[in-house]
Amino acid sequence: MSSNFGPDMTETIALDIKNIRKTFGTLEVLKGISLKANEGDVISILGASGSGKSTFLRCINLLETPDSGEVTVSGNTIKMRKNRKGQNEPADMKQVEHIRSELGMVFQGFNLWSHLTILENLIEAPVHVQKRPRAEVIPEAEAMLEKVGIADKRNFYPSHLSGGQQQRAAIARALCMRPKVMLFDEPTSALDPELVGEVLRVMRSLAEEGRTMLVVTHEMGFARDVSNRVMFLHKGLVECEGPPAELFGNPKSERFRQFISGH
Amino acid sequence: MDYLTVLGFGPKGWGLALLAGMAITLVVSLAALIIGSAVGSLVAWAKLSKNLAANIAGDAYTTIFRGVPELLIIYLFYFGGSAVVSGIAHMFGLEGFYDIPPFAAGALAVGLISGSYQGEVYRGAYIAIAKGELEAATAVGMNRGLKFRRIIVPQVLRFAIPGLGNTWQLTLKDSALVSVTGLVDLMRESAMAAGSTHRYMTFYLAAGALYLLLTSVSGYLFNAAEVRATRGLRRSN
């Protein structure tokens, strides 16, 4: 699924993350993590709790601010600087907001806006952040609702939907932003087991479309069958990474072997 | 005359008078609280009852005493009550104006108002008692009287403490309105002092400070009581 036609085709690199470090208080959660994602890559990020995988994902769209390291989205590097206390902070919030609008995030807790209908949830950011006209966004939103299978729920409120339906709506909401890369933070962890399948099916179809996806997950089936790369984090460092067939079929890392046997 | 003299305890000082007023405020408020707890228990019982008439009566009581200004209720009891008493006296040939003692009228009025708030507190506290505990009491063979005394009352009091703390502070502040009947509480004393010395700022600030003392000490005491009463109770938060 990934294409590397030559040494200098930087346009196909959707996401280039270099050496992210992050400390919370006295605990160093990320000790230098790097990742390069080409367009169309579907990368599963695995790890035990506390390995830093969610924190890493949240550093990409700066929901957490890394202490050091560099994030580049489609050739656009997020400019950072040190504030008065010596801490890392974004130098240009407008740039950060723009880059965020090109990244679609799907949260473990869905986080649909409770006071808006499903349809209103989908068009909110395209209209108010990307400043696109409603007449253009609404048909696109309806198409996305069709795609994830909840077109009949467009005028309902999130509280009226099941967990699986809410998560599919959240995915549709991210899709409406026309994202360059989609970030999934444990999208099925908060769902009842029987609802997990409908969400994974949607994610699989997105992968088959060629979308660039980073997925922090515990779903081994997805990691093995749908993603084209797997990255295993252990205590803030990349323990091993590579194509799933290689990693699952012939695990060279003892820690990873233990991890998959436990799941 | 400087501030210390005028607020102090000397012959020209109003300090003693203010403290005396504060004592009256406390006593009126306590009387009102006690009246309110009796009335409030009745109201809570009425609202919790399966009897429709009782429900309506309870709701009506709460609506009236929460919907009419406290000042008006005090006027009603004091002036209205006095008018009734005077009218009765006139029927017997006596002349002049006979009034209900301001203390009684004030305590009754504020007490009935407090009762409507306390009713809600007790009702909520009763509902919060886990049904399982009541069932266990029945299963063990307690009769209604025993259940009420040994299980319901202690538990209700426990859950009611925060709400009661709030109601008590409300009652303290409402008591200031009883001064319109002429009762010499903290409010009336400071008004008299302010009027006679023309030091309005000084004495109303002093009154405010003393009321603040009463409400904050009360708040502290109720918090401490809540901590003590809920030890052993596992809170969901």
Binding site: N111, W113, H115 | -
Partner: protein, 241 residues
Amino acid sequence: MDFNFLSSTFIRLMGALPLTLELWALAVFFGAFLALGLTWMRARKGRILPGLSRFYVFIFRGTPLLVQLFLIYYGLGSIKEVQQSFLWPFLREPFYCAVLALAMNTAAYASEIFRGALAAVPFGQVEAGIACGMSRLTVFRRIIFPIALRQALPAYSTEIILMTKATALASLVTLFEVTGVAQKIKNDTYRALEVYLVAGLIYLVLNFIIARAIAALEHYLSPHLRAIPASKRIPDPADVL
């Protein structure tokens, strides 16, 4: 039952209702803005602004409204500097003093309500807005404020109904709103019971109307808290067949 007296009393008291409503509306309006300011101060980092806000709330919730009213009307009115300032045309008028006292009082309670409502906005929904690229102002405008508003309405509606009762205290600084006129009629006719009962009834009806209006507003603003309307529910195939 002297219906003549009752009805003439009723008419006279209703004539004072506009003043009651004016006091109430202005107090609620200015009090809300003051409360927003207090809530804003409370949310700042550092110690001074939040400390000032907490102190204000402590004072105004810990002392009777009557004391606050007299402090503003009599207290401020007795200070020479105030009498000579540009504020004097306002502070000498009982009406403005009453509005000020009522507004400052309700602001203390309202700011606590607003603070609780803001804290109740689920942070995940705020994060979702940030993750979409919304600026802080946009997140506040489109996500935080609408949700907090709906959270605050029930408690705030109680507060503004309490305010109608508070306007009665204005009668103690020579204003002739409903309670003030009631006192006057009582003093003229000595028929205390009847006058007060009619006045009480007027307040009850007023509060009932206000409560209904707010309930309608709450209903309109919270379709997301109600059950799915029957018209939109997808029929169960078992029912249709």
